[in-house]
Symmetry: C2
Subunit: 706 residues, 2 copies
């Protein structure tokens, strides 16, 4: 709280006070190259605020940032020069998985005499080491600081923007965006002032992200040209991100050879098509030497793809992989392929099965630099889904798990919903048994035989894993619409480094950074508000894993039957007797059988299926008794009354800290909580009324149902 006018753009998790411990100390950067320059700039900025100094080479220092010596046996050490090419992929980079950045993100943090020392495994490690110091604040200078090596679990940590260049008449400028317009484009052209992109790059680097896809996976007519005649715009964006170790990716249109290249076909086996992609890709790398790679949504929800030409998705992906291979870059190929024109009357078709049905048979057919990008659940970013079985079915295929930071189905950044507890469950899921590797461990290990498994810090390799996440930012001055939704953006990078980290600890870290002067009362309130907000949201929305029940199209607010009779494959089959989707092998769609044991059995059996996924896997009577001891119908009533009530309590809690929060932030959050409360009551009443009208079973506690 100051007397100065509030900053126009919220500083998110890098407000000036965060830099005080650094800015008031002597800092020495014993390295050269562009990242070292970026680090020096950061330190200089901090020092100008707080009076510290950047020490000259050999000068006195409280903090030293340096590169590991080449003979240390750690990461390959090559101080990059200032040219673009220094920060590029390359098959030549020893230890790098195909299509991955050369190693070097890791760093060792410890004390040497009276100084704290960051020893980076490679150039980018300097940056990440710097931000680790920032996160630790004064603690980084504790004489008792223990030596630690840090290395990201996922080598590629990418935020996928669903930004359009032009404002789409239905989807807006940012598809499923809830935070204003694009940071990159405005009024159909690249913004003249890209200052915020620089600020954004800095925030992302501080959270651990190292790649950004700049445009929507649904590539419309105008956006297709970013690959060719509008590539200069991408290069401009790349030049800003580059300073912070972030590579730029592009979503491409599979039909680009037709749309942009005047070819009569986009058949991936046609030599003309293959040449067009090779030439086009060469031009991309000639313009942007460190270009990150392609992202493709093909044969999905009306997008073009290889099916048009009777080819497989392996044919399609491998063609693009061949164009990218000379540059050592990957293509991410989305596994989100299903029949979106399903007949709701057809009970034998199950959208949950689709990705596995389509892709599992192709295992082994994808090139090394193809990354199959799989949504974390088998449906579509619902509040509660099982982990997609595709992520465990393709041992010979490199995969990315795709999370959704933008809150499409989780309250659209009007509702407070801290998502890392969900992501943590996904990344920690052990498909083949309670002592088996987690999903994160499996993804980090890469495909069987790839030789790129995580082998600890000593290996110096960059982990082969890929974590992708759909961004939640826009040109809103709080970045994410709901100021507290910044925590989701922050946490995705942090989980990509350390997927086993406790989401509550990440939350506290974010609170410390974002509210640097917060007294314990505010810290406690923020933690309490946010930590269980996902489960609160789950409580008042679609019950027990059944999903959807949202308004079609915009996906905000309840509509229990909204998708029940549509072609989208998203049904709950509620009738007067019961509800849920029978996905068992014995009597249902067989989806449960796509999991390896023991989960195939656990999901199959009504007695072992977890309560929170009961209606995802089983159709049960309303009187079915859950493991929790209550009936399904009473569980619905109880959780919906409790969820809405909890939101009212959140409002009160937030009001109680009005004196401790910047008025701008407080006002914005207050407005959002009011809408969340209205909406939660609407969810409560529609869900309860719907199931009461259907079941005829009264609430055991006699609360009002309409």
């Amino acid at each position: 709280m100051t007397d100065l006018p509030p900053p126009v753009i919220h500083p998110a998790w890098l407000p000036p006070p965060t830099w005080r411990p650094l800015g008031s100390r002597r800092v020495r950067v014993d390295a050269s190259g562009p990242f070292a320059d970026t680090v020096r700039d950061e330190v200089s900025r901090a020092c100008s605020l707080f009076g510290g100094s950047l020490s000259p080479a050999g000068g006195p220092a409280d903090l030293i940032l340096t590169l590991a010596p080449e003979d240390s046996g750690a990461a390959p050490r090559s101080v990059p020069d200032a040219s673009d090419a220094a920060f590029r992929f390359g098959p030549a980079a020893p230890g790098a998985a195909p299509g991955f950045p050369a190693a070097g993100d890791g760093f060792r943090l410890g004390r040497r005499g009276t100084a704290t020392v960051v020893t980076a495994d490679g150039p980018s490690g300097l940056l990440y080491g710097l931000f680790e110091v920032i996160r630790r604040g004064e603690g980084a200078f504790d004489p008792a600081l223990a030596d630690e090596h840090h290395e990201p679990a996922f080598g590629l940590r990418v935020l996928d923007h669903w930004d359009n260049v032009d404002v789409h008449p239905v989807m807006g400028q940012v598809e499923r965006g809830y935070a204003g317009g694009s940071l990159f484009w405005h009024a159909g052209r690249l913004r003249d002032d890209l200052t915020r992109v620089g600020d954004y790059a800095r925030l992302l680097a501080a959270s651990g992200i190292n790649a950004v896809t700049v445009n929507n996976v649904n590539v419309h007519a105008g956006e297709a040209h970013l690959l060719t005649d509008r590539l200069g715009e991408v290069a401009t964006i790349a030049s800003i991100f580059r300073r912070y170790g972030i590579r730029v990716h592009l979503s491409i249109d599979f039909a680009a050879p037709v749309v942009l290249g005047d070819l009569p076909t986009a058949d991936p086996l046609d030599p003309r098509v293959r040449r067009w992609w090779a030439d086009t890709t060469d031009r991309v790398f000639a313009t942007i030497p460190d270009f990150g790679g392609y992202l493709v949504k093909a044969d999905s929800e009306g997008r073009p793809g290889p099916f048009t030409y009777g080819r497989t998705h392996a044919d399609g992906a491998d063609m693009l992989a061949a164009a990218l291979a000379p540059h050592g870059a990957p293509v991410r190929w989305r596994a989100f392929v299903y029949n979106h024109r399903q007949d709701w009357r057809d009970r034998s078709t199950d959208r949950a099965r689709a990705a596995h049905d389509h892709f599992a048979p192709l295992d082994g057919q994808f090139a090394d630099n193809v990354i199959l990008q799989v949504k974390h659940g088998p449906m579509d970013f619902q509040t509660r889904e099982p982990v997609s079985p595709v992520l465990f079915a393709m041992r010979h295929t490199r995969q990315a798990v795709e999370l959704q930071v933008t809150q499409e189905y989780t309250g659209q950044q009007k509702h407070l919903c801290y998502l890392p507890p969900m992501w943590s469950e996904v990344l920690g899921f052990r498909a083949t048994g309670d002592s088996a590797p987690t999903l994160a461990e499996r993804l980090s290990a890469g495909p069987a035989g790839s030789g790129s498994a995580v082998e600890g810090a000593a290996s110096g390799r960059t982990a082969a894993g890929v974590l992708s996440a759909v961004a939640n930012v826009g040109d809103d001055r709080f970045w994410t619409g709901h100021p507290l939704a910044q925590a989701n953006l922050y946490a995705v990078g942090r989980l990509a480094w350390a997927p086993d980290r406790d989401p509550a600890a990440i939350l506290d870290e974010w609170i410390s950074l974002t509210f640097p002067d917060a007294p314990p009362r505010l810290r406690h309130t923020l933690h309490t508000l946010m930590d269980d907000s996902w489960r609160t949201y789950e409580h008042y929305t679609a019950p027990l894993g059944v999903g959807f029940m949202v308004r079609p199209g915009h996906h905000y607010g309840p509509d229990v039957d909204g998708y029940e009779y549509t072609p989208w494959g998203t049904y709950h089959f509620a009738d007067r007797d019961g509800v849920g989707v029978d996905r068992t092998v014995a009597t249902g769609t067989g989806f449960a059988g796509q999991y390896p044991a023991p989960w195939s059995d656990r999901y199959e059996s009504l007695s072992s299926c977890p309560d929170e996924l009961l209606l995802f896997f089983h159709h049960v009577p309303y009187t079915h008794v859950l493991h929790s001891g209550t009936t399904v119908i009473q569980h619905i009533y109880d959780t919906h009354f409790a969820g809405a009530q909890r939101v009212a309590e959140m409002q009160s809690a937030w009001q109680s800290v009005a004196d401790l929060v910047d008025p701008d932030v407080h006002a914005r959050v207050t407005g959002r909580l009011a809408e969340q409360h209205r909406s939660a009551e609407e969810w409560r009443d529609q869900i309860n009324t719907y199931f009461h009208r259907k079941s005829g079973i009264p609430d055991a506690k006699g609360r009002p149902i309409h």
Copy 2:
């Protein structure tokens, strides 16, 4: 069927062969003035096609069109000169109801010697007489032709276009339009080529229409300017319609004094506002001397209105009436006012009541030239509604009944749905008893004490009644998307002349005109396809008058619960036991009590309420037995299976006449029928499945329900 290429624009009900009887005869026009010129032009065109001749004054004639002599005691006779002012309203016109065209639409048709003679009551009667001759064809020259006097039951017969100048991002260019873009505007400006507007004017005159509102009742920012700086565009349109006796009206924005006039208020009692409207209206009439009047949607679905200023709708309407009164023109003020942000949990509020609740207390407060425009039903143009009780509740207020020709809720011109049987029921409804006047008779009589009741041809007055209808045309080359939907457009004008005419006879008349060479097999097939198509549509959509159950927003296709939990006031309250809205006085919302006896009692009682409106007025168990002898649930199943089956039969019937229909017309209709069939099956299955899941009662005939 000819070898010539088909005309680009379909001729609708005025194809060249229709003019053969006229064009091959000697025609004399014994009158002068603009309408006489229009008639001469029409005859000349016909003669040029078929070899007839326009006879000079005093020459030989098979057909004579003339004006009634002034001393006949019939209509006031004043041969207009060619100036615009000749065709204007005016308090001075003797016998005209305030705000109505001077009398003269009527005409006498009969034989004088060897000639057929049209003796027009006034100038416009020349036109209508000409088209009556066209309709009769050879029959008009039958020596045994009996003398008949024709006069319209409704003095003002107006088509309201919901055209936007600019394409609205959600609603498109024509709101609820299903036939392409606007006939008037394209790409944000008046079309350069207005040839089709001339053709349209001719078609409308031939059907009996005498006014057109050119823009959408939802007046957006751009369209508001049609009243002021873009008035020239309206004048251009008016100059085309004028030749066919059609006046142009404008939908206006109640907030225009603020939006266009830079006033701080639109308060209808503020002298500055009143002066602004008076001045603006004076300028409109200075530019368009025969301007028709204003149409206003105020305080409805987010439109501005007098409620903003704490004023009544009488205050608002009377202000505009005062501005129009010096020019003898009316304001039509829509009664479509209701709370569109209703809480669905609130069972005490009933949208059906809203218009009566708002307007009935204001009876007697409206100026003479205010016309309260009331949708025919209390809800919103559903497939089946009772007649709005507002139409019988305000004896001292001039009223218009508003029909919807555009098929918003009746299949959007993809489904074949001939609407006149519905309109005929509305216009023929006798609210106060089986021998009481029909709605049409009451409206034609005008308000109590207005002295403008229909008094037969001898009176020479123009009837005071107003029939308004929302247009269904666009720039589609068949005018109405579905070629057979032209019949709805044709019939609305015909019913406005003779509301007691049998809709089946109007259909045959339309068939004769549109398919002039049709052999009996085609005539029979068309008649059979179309005559009961409204009831077919009713069968497979929302049952028993309950309404809605459509997809929210676009209103096409089924979604039983789509509006059930929304703020729109459109509910069916289906639960596991029953369905319907209790609108009785005894136990429901009391809406039934808004009717006069005996209908208040008939609707109130379960035993006398007509089956087709049962669920509009009553909530009943699924096992309730209808007057038809079947249960509600079995009725739902039976009608839905039958309705979809009927559409399949319609497809077959249409195929069977492929050899008799212009291939273009046949192909278009074939495509529409295919979609209708798909959609009807979708309706059938969703409705049946929904109610089967809710009720648990199987179909007695064991047909497939999903």
